[in-house]
């Protein structure tokens, strides 16, 4: 299979880059269940560089817009943030049977595990400061000035919360395999306690968390990955997601993280609004895990990540929501 992909990928890249490209050492690496991820060497025009292929799986976990993901890489790489250089986007199926894109490989880096007690070791403070600083810079960016004004989402600061809530409620209703009373209660709570209007409409990464960035041995973040759920919305959505307890292992405390984000974004966190986005984050998590469980159970995507998400993560977020909402009841 890899040999077959290598040859076809070489033909595709040769046409795309205008040079004869040799593809070598192609191997699949972990990269989530929503895209098949491969590392390979591309040799052309005197260069020998590491590239990454992200190809749609036979069934995608969350239906995401590939061109939007690619454009997010383009925009934020161009802005100088630690984002891999995007190389090519192919929406057709002729080249590799399914849509895909190619980007630069960021070499000699590590990913922080969400299950490790201390995923960042001695560089924890530096990595975490960069993590929230970069998120603040994403929030600060003007979508129009980086060419993303037409991104998915709404421009109305008063209804962006509703748009996102409805998006994920629909996923839960469509994909739940058994009744989810905690998710239903959380949806009702979120509707009854809407947040204040967003301070601005920003590009929201959509999955900004531990496990979705690469850091090097000096403690520098070299790549923010997995922009497949990027959209326009309230920048507090990303902050609430980044602060979620599921990936808080080894991270900074909430107040310190918020202070760093505020300095980088130039925004002030509305302390009345953030709890809404934190509850929303756990509900969105539930929706994603419910969808993962459904894909796995239906046999459409047997990646073990889907089983783990649909089981461990689902149970985790049910408890987070029950404690948050039930504790106040």
């Amino acid at each position: 299979m890899s040999e077959d992909i290598s040859e076809r990928l070489a033909i595709y890249l040769s046409g795309k880059l205008g040079h004869t490209v040799e593809v070598a050492n192609l191997s699949r690496i972990p990269g989530g269940a929503s895209r098949e991820t491969y590392r390979f060497r591309a040799r052309y025009n005197g260069q020998d560089r590491g590239l990454i292929l992200r190809r749609d799986p036979p069934a995608s976990l969350i239906e995401t817009e590939r061109s939007a993901e690619f454009r997010a890489y383009q925009a934020f790489h161009g802005l100088g943030l630690p984002v891999p250089e995007p190389i090519a986007l192919e929406l057709g199926t002729a080249a590799l049977d399914r849509p895909f894109f190619v980007m630069a490989e960021i070499e000699n880096c590590a990913v922080g595990s969400i299950v490790a007690a201390e995923p960042y070791g001695a560089h924890r403070q530096k990595i975490c400061e960069q993590f929230f600083t970069t998120l603040g810079k994403i929030a600060k960016a003007d979508p129009a000035s980086i060419g993303l004004a037409d991104f998915d989402g709404v421009h109305d600061v008063t209804t962006t919360w509703k748009h996102e809530l409805e998006r994920w409620e629909k996923v839960i209703l469509e994909d739940e395999r058994e009744p989810q009373p905690i998710a239903r209660a959380a949806i009702r709570w979120l509707r009854k306690h809407p947040p204040p209007p967003a301070q601005k409409i920003s590009v929201v990464h959509g999955d900004y968390r531990s496990g979705n960035f690469l850091f090097d041995g000096e403690g520098d973040i070299r790549a923010i990955l997995d922009w497949e759920m990027a959209h326009l919305g309230d920048p507090l959505e990303d902050l609430g997601w980044a602060l979620d307890p599921l990936w808080s292992n080894g991270m900074l405390g909430r107040d310190e993280a918020i202070a760093i984000w505020e300095r980088a974004s130039g925004l002030t966190v509305d302390r009345a609004a953030l709890p809404w986005w934190e509850v929303f984050a756990s509900l969105k998590g539930l929706a994603i895990w419910i969808s993962a469980a459904n894909e796995y159970a239906e046999g459409r995507n047997s990646d073990p990540v889907n089983a783990f998400s649909g089981w461990y993560c689902l149970a985790f977020h049910n408890k987070v929501l029950a404690d948050r909402l039930g504790g106040a009841a």
């Binding site: 191997s27 699949r28 690496i29 972990p30 991820t37 590392r39 299950v115 007690a117 058994e178 009744p179 989810q180 009373p181 905690i182 239903r184 209660a185 009702r188 990646d303 073990p304 990540v305 089983a307 783990f308 089981w311 461990y312 149970a315 985790f316 049910n318 408890k319 929501l321 029950a322 404690d323 909402l325 039930g326 504790g327 009841a329």
Partner: protein
């Protein structure tokens, strides 16, 4: 049965992590093998507690329905009273799950109906929190 299923799963996971995964090509194969081993350990936990969790949840929901049915009317009340009177006829996980799904559906309906009643809401959240607590999985090493 000796050895028990949870022991088989745990020892198989250790075998996979310690002996088999290192023989695989680095990358997706080793990552997936490690995650599969992880899930075998979680399955060992679940093997021992799965029936207990479901029996306890179902009992909690039935008791809740019996207590709160008088607060609602019509079909919902009748359904709650009928569900409160049911029992788990089998301890097979599939049978317990089928009953559990029916009860959860009713629980969601009941919660929506009485949410503004502070006492009822608190009672329901007490049950929901207990359900969530029981289902949490401990990762190896925790």
């Amino acid at each position: 049965m000796k050895p028990e299923v949870d022991q088989i799963l745990n020892l198989s996971a250790m075998q996979m992590l310690g002996t088999l995964a290192p023989l695989l090509p680095q990358g997706y194969a080793t990552g997936s093998a490690s995650l599969l081993a992880f899930m075998m350990m979680l399955s060992a936990q679940e093997y021992d507690r799965a029936a207990d969790i479901r029996v306890a949840e179902n009992a909690d929901m039935r008791a809740l329905f019996a207590a709160l049915a008088p607060k609602v009317h019509g079909d919902l009340r009748q359904n709650l009273e009928a569900a409160a009177a049911t029992e788990d006829a089998s301890l097979k996980i599939s049978a317990l799950d089928a009953g559990n799904a029916e009860l959860r559906k009713l629980l969601a309906e009941l919660h929506e109906a009485v949410e503004e009643d502070a006492t009822a809401n608190t009672r329901i959240w007490t049950v929901l929190r207990a359900m969530a607590d029981r289902r949490v999985l401990k990762l190896p090493g925790q």
